[in-house]
Amino acid sequence: MTVRSKAELFEAHRAAMAEILMLDHLPTAWNGSVTGYLVMASAAADLFVRFPLDDTYDEAAPVFTPQPVTPSPFTPSPVAASGDVA
């Protein structure tokens, strides 16, 4: 099996992703510096993606917290108010 460098792998990833993200029409999306930045990001990710963490609910942010809703004032309809409901 051919061993490919990270830069080569990201070159292939970039080509595919540029098409998926609809950036492939841009000459700039094929700029070699984009691959360079991806290699940098990959080196950064290597520092934490395999860091051992328990499988728990521990998402830090952005945090989604459902908020209660205050109902608008309720005005009973004449039918409901009369109690004449089938």
Binding site: T28, A45, A60
Partner: protein, 463 residues
């Protein structure tokens, strides 16, 4: 006695201006006119402002003077001129966010919350300031707006991304300016220009009306020439705001009184220097200045923030990915209008695998818990704000221990792991030998304990 300012005067502090205006020794109009004259005089050299709102400022100043004449209350910052990074909404102005693309947006319909709050306290907005494009940078350089220049040496960087705000304050154009800090964008320019900076706890100040960069890391903060000005402007900007979902509902916790009582009422604080990661990669002369500052207040103990290098790496990945996602539509349609450096990083960010982002967020929680453990035994931690002094404009690398290292990422070496977990930090200028370039130290506290950081900052600035 009257102390009128002229365009050649060194500006007074915000606290001093407000007292003079409130007590009739000068007027808000005179204060604003003097600031406008300083901007006209020096902005060409410093590249601090993109938009100056002179008519708006003078109208507001006249209202303050009229209120004083009528015996009405005017607020603790009456007549104080201030500036805002140009990512903050100002009603009637297009919110540039350092970008050419944003110039085709409609003008903002209302002011950002923090501008409203400063103006409610009597401060007067003079204009908006240059920044790295979309806040993605540590240098203050911008292909669209030109660079902000360091007032101490205009051939050098201010640092960024709140570079124009730092140039406006350090250059004496205004006593205070609002910035924003995602990975160090207040602390880095404060350090390189020798002024004070505050990045409060994540969620402390409302971001409503600020153009976003990385929602999970963006903070609002302020830069000032004096610690008292930093404190009072922070106090008046606090408070809940439902318009920013991250903004805390905590009540206002003022810190100005802390500075007034720093000698007599400071409870014993446990202070330590950050060791390990935070002492690697810095110029020895800056580490020495930090140690001297710490020794002057009797601090020599050291603590470690575990795995800080991984925290910085995770912040880097989150920044790239969230920034890339935010700007993807603009990248598709208007890529050629980006600053080329910003564009290529954002495109790369848009291609980052989801696993990295999710694991960065999970690591964030772990790191926050570990640092919380450290803060059970220490109240405040000291570290350098930047590992180097201001590089030359356009400088891409610098030599360190026989290696050529990239300038831009290295500037955020010590700030990035701290904003990653939202810690409050006050940046204080380090005492340096005459003729030396400025540098700052970070006074770091546990979340929501800005008061402790201000107490120690006050101790550090005491002679």
């Amino acid at each position: 006695m009257s102390r009128p300012e002229t365009e050649h005067d060194t500006p007074l502090t915000a606290t001093c201006i407000a007292a003079d205006v409130a007590q009739g020794r000068t007027t808000a109009v005179a204060s604003v006119e003097a600031a406008l004259a300083r901007v006209a005089d020096r902005n060409g050299e410093l590249g601090a402002f993109t938009d100056v709102v002179a008519a708006r400022a003078l109208t507001r100043a006249r209202r303050i003077d009229a209120a004083i004449a009528a015996g009405q209350p005017v607020g603790p910052l009456a007549g104080v001129p201030f500036a805002a990074k140009n990512l903050y909404d100002v009603a009637g102005l297009v919110t540039r966010a350092g970008s050419r693309i944003n110039l085709s947006n409609a003008p903002a319909g209302r002011n950002a919350t923090v501008i409203e709050r400063l103006e409610s306290a009597g401060a007067v907005l003079i204009g908006t300031c240059t920044m790295d494009e979309y806040a993605y940078g540590f240098t203050g350089e911008n292909a669209n707006e030109g660079p902000s220049r360091n007032p101490g040496d205009i051939t050098r960087m201010t640092g960024g991304s709140s570079g124009g705000s730092a140039a406006a304050v350090a250059g004496g154009l205004v006593p205070l300016a609002i910035g924003s800090d995602t990975n160090g964008s207040i602390r880095v320019p404060a350090s390189l220009t020798g002024i004070y900076g505050l990045k409060p706890t994540y969620g402390r100040l409302s971001r409503a009306g600020a153009f976003p960069f990385v929602a999970s890391l963006d903070h609002v903060g302020v830069l000032a020439k004096s610690l008292a000005d930093l404190a009072i402007s922070y106090d008046v900007m606090q408070g809940p705001d439902a318009s920013d979902p991250v903004c805390s509902t905590r009540p206002v916790e003022p810190v100005s009184h802390v500075l007034a009582n720093v000698d007599s009422h400071v409870p014993a604080l446990r202070i330590a220097l950050a060791g390990g990661y935070f002492r690697t990669g810095a110029l020895p002369e800056l580490l020495s200045a930090l140690d001297q500052a710490a020794a002057a207040i009797g601090v020599s103990a050291r603590v470690e923030l575990p795995e800080a290098h991984r925290a910085r790496a995770a912040a880097f990945v989150l920044t790239a990915a969230e920034g890339g996602a935010l700007h993807l539509d603009r990248l598709r349609s208007r890529a050629e209008e980006f600053d080329p450096d910003t564009r290529d990083r954002l495109i790369a960010g848009a291609m980052i695998p989801a696993e990295w982002v999710i694991k960065a967020q999970r690591f964030r929680r772990w790191f926050a818990n570990e640092v919380a453990t450290v803060f059970r035994h220490v109240d405040v931690i000291l570290a350098l704000a930047t590992p180097i002094t201001a590089p030359k404009l356009g400088q891409k690398t610098f030599s360190f221990e026989g290696q050529e290292l990239p300038v831009r990422p290295h500037l955020g070496l010590y700030t990035q792991p701290l904003s990653f977990i939202g810690l409050p930090v006050v940046t204080v200028p380090l005492a340096r030998a005459a003729g030396s370039l400025p540098a700052g130290l970070q006074v770091i506290a546990a979340p929501w304990n800005e008061a402790a950081a201000f107490r120690v900052a006050a101790l550090l600035q005491a002679p």
